[in-house]
């Protein structure tokens, strides 16, 4: 019985993750006074990719082929961790996915994969401390609550989300400029079903982070407030993405360190009980 619930739970995550991406993309376009695509577009993209041939770079090894499955599994594991008490494992699971994605990008042997991996690792070293501290807050002061600690943790988590989901001002999912890419540069050599798997993994990771963010303030068991919370978070992200330019790469750590400091204050708040 329990196994069935877990499977249903994971299927729900897989099923809903693209929708969240679609909603954010639609909101962004509407904010720019454009009609925008259907919120179902991410599903169509995935279906299209699943029907395509997969092309593997000539000199790549088993790593390149295995990575999409590992990254996808890591993303799903994040969701399982939401239901347990071992949230700190999130950091390790994230790092696992990131590690294999970067390795596969290097394995392909193209210039952009190398650039993407190097930037991703550079930024990750600033994201992980903030993420660790936010999770510490969740241990010290389990939510949901509207306390100072939770609000600070929420702000810190928002910055982490922007970096982890390849959003502006850290990364830009919409750009075609290969030289500016971070996350997408690592995906450039993947194609077909493997690319679909990687995109879905990124969408699931995005859903995980936003659920975690909302869970600071809203109980996860209440479906309607959870949905409203996710929609609000999507709107905030869309507003940020449309309203500001991407930061110069070497300025991004400033933002991420700011996130860590907010998280540190949140820890202090949690310890003091405010």
């Amino acid at each position: 019985m329990q196994a069935l619930t877990v499977i249903l739970y994971l299927l729900l995550a897989i099923g809903l993750a693209p929708l969240l991406s679609g909603v954010i993309a639609r909101l962004k376009n509407n904010l720019r006074l454009r009609a925008g695509q259907s919120i179902l577009q991410p599903y169509r993209n995935l279906r299209k990719l699943l029907g395509k041939e997969e092309i593997v770079p000539e000199n790549s090894s088993w790593l390149f082929r295995a990575a999409p499955a590992i990254v996808f599994a890591a993303s799903l594991t994040l969701f399982l961790l939401l239901r347990t008490n071992s949230l700190l494992s999130v950091i390790f699971v994230l790092a696992l996915g990131r590690f294999f994605l970067a390795l596969a990008a290097l394995d392909a042997g193209s210039a952009f994969g190398g650039i993407g991996s190097s930037r991703e690792m550079f930024l990750a070293s600033f994201v992980e401390p903030a993420a660790c501290l936010v999770i510490l807050v969740l241990y010290l002061a389990p939510g949901p609550a509207w306390s100072v600690a939770h609000i600070l943790a929420g702000l810190a988590l928002l910055i982490v989300v922007l970096a982890e989901t390849a959003r502006q001002p850290v990364d830009n999912q919409e750009t075609h400029l290969e030289l500016t890419m971070v996350h997408e540069a690592m995906l450039l050599d993947h194609s077909g079903p493997a690319l679909a798997l990687l995109l879905l993994a990124a969408q699931i990771k995005q859903l995980f982070w936003l659920v975690l963010l909302v869970s600071l303030f809203v109980p996860l068991t209440a479906l309607l407030p959870l949905g409203a919370g996710l929609l609000a978070a999507a709107l905030v992200i869309a507003l940020i993405e449309v309203g500001i330019a991407k930061y110069r790469l070497f300025k991004v750590p400033d933002l991420l360190v700011f996130g860590s400091i907010l998280a540190l204050l949140a820890v202090a708040g949690a310890l003091l009980g405010v």
């Binding site: 962004k28 904010l31 720019r32 006074l33 454009r34 210039a111 650039i115 190097s118 502006q168 001002p169 830009n172 919409e174 750009t175 075609h176 400029l177 290969e178 030289l179 500016t180 450039l188 993405e241 449309v242 309203g243 500001i244 330019a245 991407k246 930061y247 110069r248 790469l249 070497f250 300025k251």
Partner: protein, 514 residues
């Protein structure tokens, strides 16, 4: 003292041709060629504006080499011309003395098979070694089109950076987006760019060869398709050259209408680039706003002329049709003010473009950078200053000195306003009258048509034979002068800032590749 008299002191030309207004062709002895070019370079305070060869083996059994300099002070074009007897096709390289001759010399070498003695750079520009066989020189008159391209004959050699932690990053010519094909070869140390070499020529269509033998009408049609975003300026430069040869003076109304269209072309391109700069740093709201403005300008073009990109308006001797409606630019201007506010109130946007991609004035001068990119680096050159109807309207070029992406953005914003003012002024000056003068019988001759397009000077050197068909047409789009400036502006920047630098120049691939 005039440049001519000054020049006489040191160089005695073999022949002088002053037949056309504002142009002097000075044929010199081989030994005098370099000194004459150097003297003109200094006296005119001009880079090599054009340098091109003609195949005159059929009539004079020689190749003729023309090197053009422009004196803004005298509003006059000077050419140093050199005849190279057939069979011994070589000339001493000018590039060693004047850097801005380098690309022209490489072009002459690959197109005519004329050797450069002592040239620092022999590499091909457009006929890539990987596909084009040796010994086939397309601009020679006896060139026979190749049945098919032969297997690779050579390999292009990039300048390689060497050192610890330095690696090569090849980008393009196939890019992730739908943009022109250019190969950018970076030498990088981590993110910072140590060196950038740009290899172009992937859209080479052989325009100059296609021009040969065409009638003027067909040539004009082709010229409007050399660079799609500069259709009007290219067509106009072609017409100006043809009109000068025929001795035609377009009626005043046509001159004003041409200026109106030229400024409309400038406006839609400038707003396109303002949006493009915003888009390339991910400021998508401003870019969406700018794209709306651009679309409104394109629709205005269509209303006025029937063509969004202003094609088919120019004819030899005037314009084909009158304005088909009123030109209302005021709503656009207030929206531009709004856009400027959005851009300059965004700290994240200004942070990206301020002091990014600096092109120093000295570098710009040495490279022979022209037009908008030059004006952003303090070079106050604009051909419109010297041309009607601009000169009588008291036209002054807009100049910035900082040479960064912000300067190039500012020039565009200010020129957009200036253009709309000019359009208003020209429309008020319009008097009822003819739109064209009738073309007389074909006249043989050669002359230059020059106009300041939105990127910079567009130059057409045209030579017609007795039947009135095109014997030789040399085209120079400002992009040809300016691409290398991008490589210098990018030096020391980090890789993710390169697309922004690139967009701030927004040079043409097709205009460069011909």
């Amino acid at each position: 003292m005039s440049i001519r008299e000054e020049l006489k002191k040191t160089i005695a030309p073999l022949a002088v041709n002053d037949r056309y207004p504002a142009e002097s062709y000075l044929t010199v002895k081989p030994a005098d060629f370099i000194p004459a070019c150097l003297a003109l370079h200094q006296l005119c305070a001009s880079p090599v504006m054009m340098m091109f060869a003609e195949d005159k083996r059929a009539t004079r059994s020689c190749f003729r080499l023309n090197t053009a300099f422009y004196s803004a002070a005298e509003r006059h074009w000077y050419y140093a011309c050199l005849d190279l007897p057939a069979g011994a096709e070589s000339f001493p390289s000018l590039a060693k003395e004047i850097y801005s001759a380098t690309l022209f010399e490489r072009e002459i070498r690959e197109m005519f098979g004329i050797e450069l003695v002592g040239s620092p750079d022999h590499r091909r520009l457009r006929l890539h070694d990987e596909v084009w066989p040796a010994g086939a020189f397309p601009l020679r008159k006896d060139f026979v089109p190749l049945e098919r391209l032969e297997p690779p004959t050579g390999q292009y050699e990039f300048i390689k950076g060497e050192g610890e932690g330095l690696f090569e990053l090849p980008v393009g010519p196939v890019h992730a987006g739908i943009i022109g094909p250019g190969h950018f070869h970076f030498s990088v140390a981590g993110e910072p760019i140590i060196n950038l070499e740009i290899r172009l020529g992937f859209t080479h269509r052989g325009i100059e060869k296609l021009m040969e033998g065409k009638t003027l009408a067909a040539g004009l049609e082709l010229s409007e398709r050399v660079a799609g975003d500069t259709s009007f300026a290219h067509g106009l430069a072609f017409c100006l050259a043809a009109e000068k040869i025929a001795g035609l003076t377009p009626p005043p109304r046509a001159v004003l209408l041409r200026a109106v269209y030229l400024e409309l072309e400038r406006m839609y391109n400038h707003i396109n680039d303002i949006g493009g700069i915003a888009l390339d740093v991910g400021f998508s709201f401003a870019s969406a706003f700018a794209s709306v403005l651009k679309e409104r300008l394109l629709r205005l073009n269509e209303q006025l002329s029937g063509n969004r990109y202003l094609r088919g308006i120019n004819v030899i001797g005037g314009v084909a049709q009158d304005l088909a409606g009123p030109v209302t630019l005021n709503p656009l201007l207030s929206d531009l003010n709004e856009l400027e506010k959005i851009l300059f109130n965004s700290a994240s946007f200004i942070d990206r473009i301020d002091s990014t991609g600096i092109l120093r004035q000295k570098t710009a001068e040495d490279l022979g950078v022209l037009g908008l990119a030059g004006r952003a680096s303090g070079l106050a050159r604009d051909l419109r200053t010297d041309l009607e109807p601009y000169s009588s309207a008291g036209f002054r070029p807009i100049v910035c000195t900082s040479g960064d992406c912000l300067a190039r953005l500012n020039i565009r914003l200010q020129e957009f306003r200036q253009s709309s003012e000019l359009i208003g002024r020209f429309i008020r000056q319009l008097q009822p009258g003819e739109l064209t003068v009738n073309a007389p019988a074909p006249v043989a001759g050669y002359s230059l048509g020059a106009i300041e397009g939105w990127r910079g000077p567009v130059l057409y050197w045209l030579k017609l034979n007795e039947q009135g068909t095109i014997e030789r047409c040399k085209i120079v789009d400002p992009s040809f002068h300016n691409w290398e400036a991008l490589a210098y502006a990018a030096q020391g920047e980090i890789i993710p800032d390169f697309p922004l630098c690139n967009k701030s120049f927004d040079l043409s691939y097709s205009g460069n590749d011909l």
